[in-house]
Symmetry: none
Subunit: 537 residues, 2 copies
């Protein structure tokens, strides 16, 4: 069985609330998606906006190894001649060799939304396809509302399908535009269409009933050979069918060789790349590609995993370029701790008291509001600190933070009269460093002052940047006296790590998480220096 | 066809990375889920941790209108007698009348993970069920890895199912523990199980292949009458089957009357409540309940919607308590503003410029990080402040906050050497009040100092308490310079209200939300005083 993959992240995906892609973003995403072995990449609707027209001009320079670029559009308007329709002309001149036009597949939509006759809609479909074919293009047709239409007036929807096939469409793509169809319904219409015509059948599903992946797979099992979707399931409302879930299901579960093993192993990387370019945090809980997709928290599961690596995973994560993560928490047992310590190169004896001691320390700290499952770097520091002879790269001594809002603020303060200042005392290599800095809020001021103190001894620390700062209030019922947990995410441009701090005082919680972030990086540098003394000069 | 709904948000749901629920959180969630008409609420695993044991002690006081509470556990250990197994005894004494025990349904898991014989596993299942039945309990059995087990060694999985049925289980719940099964596979085993025994069949699906909802519906169509899942699909790795998608699919698409229309219309509210208590942002893209689920961005769709309200929606959102949003429309905004102002007794002319001005103010403030959807009290204050002649009960002038951590702290400071102090200047009735207070963290110190200033003029303010304090970081990518939004919830013992503050400085954001909370209450008092002068003396 052969299945073609068709990506519409650049058009339908960008309809997601909050996404806005520049032409440059689109070109980068297209080049990246190509690495996955996707067969078609829909670049946009050149007739609908100048950005998409520009994309197609520049896309000629993309050297795609696998994918063909597709331009999207619609049939001509009621009463119009395709040869005089600017929308169709822009398709004909976009430079893409394949086009996809949307056609109304529901009688109700023709009369109520398009407000024309059922016969005129058939004429528009037929003439538009023939026009584009006469310009040498391969023409796919997205049959909008195919399933809703078939439910309301099956005879007319079948007429539309037959009309598009007879006019020369190379693929009839059944669209569940509103995302409300059920898998049996989808399989049913695919089977009926297959009896109607030998033309390829495609599926274009939306996730409004959380069934887009199931509907896509049901279509393939019923005979569809073309699947449309988006990376990470981006799309209008609840999103489009998620290619990141469909591709591994086709290959690993249905045995359909739609991409190579090597291409499949890039899935996680490509998924994260696309979210990065779209400026959205990667969704940790996404199947196959999310950072939580193969993470284990329950002690029973971690202990099961240590006996058999597939005991609580439906596939080997390496097949899709992801990895197993063991979460450390009060609910997890000693085995999680030994497992994680091993991962960072600190083997702990399985029956020794070291792991037990660390577990008790984790439990104690978690009862004080720390949480290690999202803060591996802070946990790794606990392990290092438990080693005999551990020398911290610096020690916190004192800090003081001042936040002031004065109506008659002198000119030196920020525009709104708000001043945040932090004073920090840190011991580095036996010396006390005492620094002060202003900042955009008290935590930023602390961050600035701490770096000022440490950069003198550790200039390489300047590459470390904070990229995320999250605050959670614990035991919510106690109002402003609540305990807070701060989670920080940092990067050195290559790797990312997360640290945690907790206190009833948000300033102190932030201070602890900040200090852990910088200590973690310095310790890691020191260790890699020891392991590779020549590399490091 | 009858289908029972079974919620495991409190146990399996809390395995989601990042969720940690207190006993109080769990009790609140159970009471809320009950309003949905869910038939069973699994409260936790009383034998596994003291928190869950405490939950069951306190849950006796919950007055649930619809749901039965269920205690979760596992079969006895290999070689053990159920009557002497602490895990089973804790189930027998939890106070719940229904229990659910997990049993291994896969031969490979019995030998490789449990490391016992296939026969001993059957003995454990049978003895455990009989023991719990003898204590007067109804016993559901979660058959772990049922589908994986059937794929590897179908004969043994069927033996397990027959054994549990014969021992007296009232429901055989087929679990897709690793979340990798396909809908056809699920339907197949449900059908086979139905031929094996007349006992009720259940489905417990995980979302690792993005098929949990499809698998749950496939099981029901094949004869399962019991569906396990979680609110918002929370759960380990990629989550459990999402009841917020399953319930409307059963009722609206399959015509199975599992909840009443009125209960279904609370779905969005309950979904948001649970995410709020779990301190997770509601997922905007969730089917049915997400704020984007019925939002329209594409011009063609918005124009279609204006011609026919179901043209681009698979259901009427009101059925699940959600609503259509047009992302570019300002008209819908103005009508909402007029509606809300009317509710608080401030009629605005429908075509006047007042509503337009307020709408622009809200837009401006929302662009600065405020959000009024969850902070009606702050919005109400905007309306009051827009009225001619509005006299604020107090005016903020200055504040200063100091947080200090000194190693050699004098005895007057808190135990850990941490001092938080706030100085506040407020104008009340023409007089400047200048107060100072310590606190448990900077925000608590501000709260204390502000109250100290206001209580002299408004002694009745002492009844106002803060009951919730939440911080969200916006624009996450900018680290410690991020803009923060503070949401406060307050009560006077009778009513509750929420206020919002936003700033790049967490202290200032808290200060604004605090001040709004107190001003809101004082304004409300003043208005009710005017309306009922006699009541108020």
């Amino acid at each position: 069985m052969k299945v073609e993959l068709y990506d519409t992240t650049l058009r339908d995906g960008s309809q997601r609330e909050g996404i806005s892609l520049s032409v440059k973003d689109k070109l980068s995403i297209a080049a990246k998606i190509d690495q996955l072995g996707i067969h078609f990449i829909e670049g946009g609707w050149p007739g609908s906006n100048p950005k998409d027209a520009e994309f197609f001009q520049l896309a000629g320079n993309l050297e795609l190894a696998n994918a063909q670029l597709v331009a999207f559009g619609s049939t001509c308007r009621p009463g119009a001649d395709p040869a005089g329709d600017p929308n169709l002309l822009s398709l004909a001149t976009s430079g893409a060799g394949v086009v996809n036009i949307v056609a109304k597949g529901s009688a109700l939509h023709v009369t109520q939304v398009l407000q024309t006759t059922l016969d005129e809609n058939l004429r528009m479909i037929s003439d538009s396809i023939q026009f584009l074919k006469s310009r040498g293009l391969a023409v796919l047709v997205d049959i909008e509302h195919a399933f809703d239409g078939y439910r309301d007036n099956s005879e007319y929807t079948l007429k539309v399908l037959r009309c598009a096939a007879e006019a020369g469409a190379c693929c009839l793509v059944l669209c569940d535009t509103n995302g409300g169809a059920l898998p049996d319904e989808v399989a049913g219409l695919v089977t009926i269409t297959g009896k109607l015509t030998p033309v390829n059948i495609g599926i274009h599903a939306h996730n409004d009933a959380e069934l887009a992946v199931a509907n896509s797979l049901a279509a393939v099992k019923a005979g569809a050979s073309h699947v449309e979707g988006t990376l990470n399931g981006y799309g209008e409302r609840c999103g489009n069918a998620n290619l990141c879930s469909i591709i591994p299901a086709l290959k690993l579960k249905l045995g359909i060789d739609c991409v190579t093993d090597e291409q499949l192993s890039r899935l996680t990387e490509v998924s994260h790349y696309v979210s990065e370019i779209a400026n959205l945090s990667p969704d940790a809980y996404l199947p196959y590609v999310g950072s939580s997709a193969f993470s284990h928290k329950a002690g029973l599961h971690v202990s099961g995993m240590s006996k058999w690596h597939l005991s609580y995973q439906h596939i080997d994560p390496a097949l899709v370029g992801n990895r197993t993560r063991t979460l450390i928490s009060e609910l997890s047992g000693r085995s999680n701790i030994i497992h994680r310590a091993n991962e960072i190169g600190v083997p702990l004896p399985p029956r020794g008291k070291e792991a037990q001691k660390l577990l008790e320390q984790v439990k104690d700290l978690e009862s004080k509001g720390f949480q290690y499952e999202n803060a591996e770097a802070s946990f790794d520091l606990l392990v290092h600190r438990a080693l005999p002879g551990y020398q911290p790269p610096f020690e916190l001594v004192d800090f003081m933070v001042l936040v002031e809002n004065r109506r008659r603020a002198p000119a030196s303060k920020t525009a709104d009269g708000l001043l945040s200042e932090a004073m920090v005392k840190v011991k580095v290599d036996g010396n006390i460093m005492h620094t002060v800095s202003e900042g955009d809020g008290p935590v930023n001021a602390l961050d600035n002052a701490l770096r000022k103190a440490l950069l003198q001894q550790y200039p390489s620390l300047s590459v470390v940047k904070l990229i995320d700062y999250k605050v959670r209030i614990l035991e919510e019922s106690t109002g402003t006296e609540s305990r807070v947990r701060v989670l920080l995410e940092s990067t050195d441009g290559e790797n990312q790590w997360r640290t945690v701090g907790s206190s009833t005082n948000i300033i102190e919680a932030s201070w602890l998480a900040l200090a852990d972030s910088l200590e973690y990086w310095l310790v890691k540098q020191r260790r890699s220096c020891r392991e590779n003394p020549i590399d490091q000069g």
